[in-house]
Amino acid sequence: MLKLQDLTKAYRTDEVETVALNNVNIEIEHGEFVAIMGPSGCGKSTLLNIVGMLDTPTSGHYFFNGEDVAGYSEAQLGVIRKQHIGFIFQSFNLIDELSVFENIELALLYHDIPASERKERVAAVMDKVGIAHRAKHMPSQLSGGQQQRVAVARAVVGNQSMILADEPTGNLDTAHGQEVMEMLQKLNEEGTTIVMVTHSPSHADYARRTINLLDGHVVTESMRA
């Protein structure tokens, strides 16, 4: 599905150049569930942002479905992104002023989908994540676990083939974290590719493959039997 080849990302301030990713080579197939681990500042989030097309690499290649998107403009990336990639964040990132329903619908709003179809799809995905009874609530009225379920629903409502999750359980207690992980696993079983950044080894165990990053390098890759 995607292939990173000699990918490098450097941040430049006035005096210092910081290399966040250095010659990274990763390949991820359709339907995989990959966990990315590593200490703070190792480049996990940078990697996820580049994979998610929210950021562009300094050098190297990024093949997405066979297409090298490394040199694409922001607008071009936006088109690919909104068709294929869903996001889940540690801090949920729901819009405070919108209801649960509207937050989920947001992902369809920029896809030229008629209102009736949007309604159906949002309702279906709310059922799937078990949040249908909260459709009219505002995010501030929900628990963290519920908010993250809304975020998951939002990430998949557009039939995205890949979900990028940035520490999806980081702000949740154990029980709620478990809940979210099971949901991701279910999505993966239904065919969605999942790339997840996490600090928790037990949550990484849900993934079939774990990539360990240190100082911008891939240090190990391990497959679960």
Binding site: S45, N49, G52, L54, D55, A75, G78, R81, K82, F87, F89, Q90, S91, N93, L94, I95, D96, E97, L106, A107, L109, Y110, H111, S140, R154, E167, G170
Partner: protein, 818 residues
């Protein structure tokens, strides 16, 4: 030492948030400055004549006339012969003095200059204790050939002010000795006192024979004399006025046997300080001040201050959301709610005071231009009185508390736990409150724009409308009624017509835009007695229609070769028969079925008028006046103006030729000429000034509102950065984000339109009702739409830059771990 701490933190905050502070202070300063300028105007208007010593006890005797056949009218002037009787019968009046204005031609060696001279009675300065620069008030008016000059006039004629003893020559041939020079008076007075000559029989002689015209001093029916009195402790305004009816019956003239004077006239006392705003409309020395203008200006000042205060509140509360963490932390560290309120109030007070200082600078800088606009001479020193300064400082504090309390209370009520645990800090109510404030601001802006547009287009309409005659290329000469000119007016006309570039010329009693009108009433039309009908009368000659480009509707033009077409309405040679033209309005008013029907009918008053022709309505006055029925006749003793039509491009040469003809014929009479269309435009000067001011205020209101909107937009964008980030991740394009943000600010402007349109339509259509000839009410709707779009465009232009910046930013910045 908390206060010192607040001061330090306030000034640091101001420096740290430069954009916010600049917008806030500049907006408020412009608001303050506008307010101060308007206050100066109002103060100036309200203090007319109050600077005159003893002004509380000085009154003008004004006359109310109830003519049997016309509307009651109020006159600023009264009957001159009342004066000695007022002195005899009213012990409560210490002094009674007359003042009369007349045109005179004056020179000091060079050419004569046309001047309006004030003829003042010898005791005039006993009432009006004006400051003298040279000479003394006791001597000034004792000699009948004395002349008192203002500083300005002394310099005009002699080049210096110390000119007591020098002489000026008038066109009556006499020399006048300068007896005193008056210090230039403040402009806030209802009188003009540039050149003063003693009022006496020497100036206005008694008749040489029984039939001659009376001296002005003795003529009961020449109502042009102003009488001033000063009241002593023996009476009051009320007690003196109560005695007037009996006084008039005892002393006043009897127009006929059936009416007693007190039924025909009323006298009343107008306090000196009230003359400018409340004095009678007719026969004023200077135009009346307008209470409506004062009230609407006060309203505008208030509204602009409101806009500026709303900015302040809006920006401060908006910023509050960004400072919520600071507030929460302060509270966690032990600050009470009260401490937070005091902190933010003192910050507001500090800003308001800086704005106030900046406003003083703005006023100082703009005052000269403002003075030109409002046609006044106001100095910044009007602000130096401790009372005014006190009021302004109190106002500043009021603004600080009023505008600062909302943000202070909003912020002080943040619950720290909520603020610190979630990113969300602002209650939805306060966002709504801000929207309401923006709606109010733009409602005011839109209404002011509509007002300015309506005033301006009515003005343009008034000046350019088709008034029934051709006003192009017409030049007017005044002073035809001057005794030296009158007898030779026809010769002058002929000499002008000899000029190759002058095609037509006509002598008339008045020209369009003249304020003076003569009215006549008659009680018999076509042999039938009717309720008295009023008609304007105008003296013309046979070339009038040709010169003004007017076509006959029915009948024939007047003909100077026919004896029965020539009339003398008054005086020794009075005739009681006259052939006249009437205008279209008269047909219906006089009860004729059509123009042909009117021909040959007779209208009978003291004179019997026979209608020989009908012409279209010619609108002579301002568009405020209606077109009245008018009679046109030839009376060669009543020519005041000469109008002539020119065909040349070379205006300067032509005017110099005409000047040469005039100088040749009347070397002692100053030459004055003006274009008819300029004279017409001149009568709308007050409207023009008003339109200009409306435009200025509307502009300022918009500037202040846009400043506020700009600030608000930047804060909103900042507040919505996370949301925008999410939307972008979800696939929103830059355009879609910009549209979202711009729409957020369009909504309040659109709501403002919904409120402003009916309100301004109501007020401006009732303003237009003051005009008989006016633009269609429908036009106001067009202006509403235009003003609405303008406001929307301005709002867009204000917020779009900011929105672009935010929309283009990389979303990951906003979505990083918090």
């Amino acid at each position: 030492m908390k206060l010192a701490n607040y001061f330090v933190s306030a000034s640091r905050n101001i420096i740290k948030h430069k954009l916010f502070s600049a917008i806030n202070i500049i907006g408020l300063a412009v608001g303050f400055a506008t307010c101060i300028l308007i206050m100066l105007f109002i103060k100036d208007e309200l203090n007319y004549d109050a600077w005159i010593p003893n002004s509380d006890n000085i009154y003008r005797v004004e006359l109310i006339s109830h003519p049997p056949t016309a509307r009651t009218f109020h006159l600023a002037a009264t009957m001159g012969p009342l004066k000695p009787f007022l002195e005899q019968d009213f012990p409560e009046f210490d002094q009674v003095a007359r003042l009369y204005y007349a045109d005179r031609n004056i020179r000091n060696g060079q050419d004569y200059i046309a001047e309006t001279v004030a003829f003042a009675e010898t005791n005039f300065f006993e009432i009006f204790d004006y400051p003298f620069l040279h000479g003394s008030k006791d001597q000034a008016l004792s000699d009948p050939t004395a002349v008192i000059l203002s500083e300005e006039m002394a310099i005009k004629y002699f080049g210096s002010t110390n000119v007591v003893g020098n002489s000026l020559t008038l066109s009556n041939g006499r020399d006048y000795r300068v007896s005193a020079v008056l210090r230039d008076l403040p402009t806030t007075t209802h009188m003009d006192l540039d050149i003063i000559i003693p009022l006496s029989y020497a100036e206005f002689p008694q008749p040489a024979d029984e039939n001659g015209p009376l001296s002005l001093l003795d003529d009961w029916f020449n109502i042009g004399t102003y009488i001033y009195v000063n009241m002593n402790a023996q009476g009051t305004e009320a007690t003196a006025e109560a005695k007037f009816p009996a006084f008039l019956d005892r002393r006043g003239p009897r127009p006929n046997d059936t009416i007693v004077p007190s039924e025909r006239w009323e006298l009343h006392l107008m306090p000196l300080e009230d003359i400018h705003l409340k004095g009678s409309e007719s026969a004023r020395i200077k135009p009346k001040g307008s209470m409506t203008t004062i009230v609407s200006f006060a309203l505008i000042a208030f509204m602009i201050l409101v806009i500026a205060c709303f900015n302040f509140m809006n920006l401060s509360t908006a910023r509050a959301s960004l400072r919520s963490k600071e507030v929460a932390l302060r509270k966690v560290l032990g600050a009470a709610k009260k401490d937070i309120v005091v902190q933010f109030l003192s910050e507001a007070a500090f800003m308001a005071f800086m704005a106030f200082l900046l406003a003083l600078v703005l006023v100082e800088v703009s005052l000269p231009y403002y003075n030109i606009m409002v046609d006044k001479v106001m100095g910044i020193d009007a602000l130096h009185s401790p009372v005014t300064l006190g009021i302004l400082i109190a106002l500043t504090l009021l603004v600080a508390v009023g505008a600062g309390s909302h943000p202070a209370f909003v912020m002080s009520s943040f619950r720290p736990s909520r603020v610190l645990s979630s990113g969300r800090s602002e209650p939805i109510g306060s966002i709504r409150f801000r929207t309401v404030l923006v709606v109010v601001q733009f409602t005011i802006c839109i209404s002011l724009i509509v007002s300015a547009l309506v005033v301006y287009s009515q003005l343009a309409y008034s000046i350019n409308r088709d008034a029934g005659y051709n006003k192009e290329n017409l030049l007017v000469l005044d002073r035809i009624r001057d005794p030296l000119v009158m007898g030779q007016a026809n010769i002058l006309k002929q000499r002008l017509l000899d000029h190759p570039d002058i095609t037509d010329a006509t002598l008339t009693s008045s020209v369009p835009a003249d304020r003076m009108v003569a009215i006549i009433g008659f009680g018999n039309v076509g042999g039938v007695a009717v309720d008295p009908i009023l008609s304007r009368i105008q003296s013309i000659d046979e070339d009038y229609l040709k010169t003004y480009g007017i076509n006959m509707i029915a009948g024939r033009n007047l003909d100077e070769t026919r004896g029965d077409d020539i009339t003398t309405l008054y005086g020794q040679n009075q005739r009681d028969e006259a052939n006249v033209l009437i205008n279209e309005s008269a047909i219906g008013q006089f009860g004729f079925t059509n123009a042909e029907d009117a021909i040959g009918k007779r209208l009978i008053d003291e004179t019997a008028f026979t209608i020989v022709g009908v012409i279209p309505d010619i609108h002579l006055g301002s568009t405020r006046d209606e077109t009245n029925p008018t009679l046109y006749y030839i009376d060669q003793e009543f020519y005041y103006r000469l109008t002539f039509k020119i065909t040349t491009e070379n205006m300067a040469a032509l005017i110099s030729d005409v000047n040469a003809i005039w100088k040749d014929m009347f070397p002692q009479v100053p030459f004055t000429q003006s274009f008819l269309d300029d004279r017409i435009a001149e009568q709308y000067k007050a409207d023009q000034d008003q339109g200009q001011l409306f435009l200025l205020f509307a502009g300022l209101a918009i500037v202040i509102s846009s400043l506020g909107l700009y600030g608000l937009a930047s804060f909103t964008a900042e507040r919505r950065i996370k949301e925008i980030g999410i939307r972008k991740v979800m696939g929103a394009s830059v355009f879609e984000v910009v549209r979202l943000l711009v729409w957020q600010f369009s909504k309040p402007v659109m709501i403002a339109n919904l409120i402003a349109w009916p309100v301004s339509f109501y007020f401006m259509s009732s303003w237009l009702e003051g005009f008989t000839y006016r633009i269609d009410n429908f036009v106001i709707i067009g202006f509403c739409v235009a003003a609405g779009f303008l406001a929307l465009l301005i709002a867009w232009a204000t917020v779009v830059g900011n929105s672009m910046r935010v929309a283009k930013a990389n979303p990951i910045k906003a979505l990083r771990y918090e």
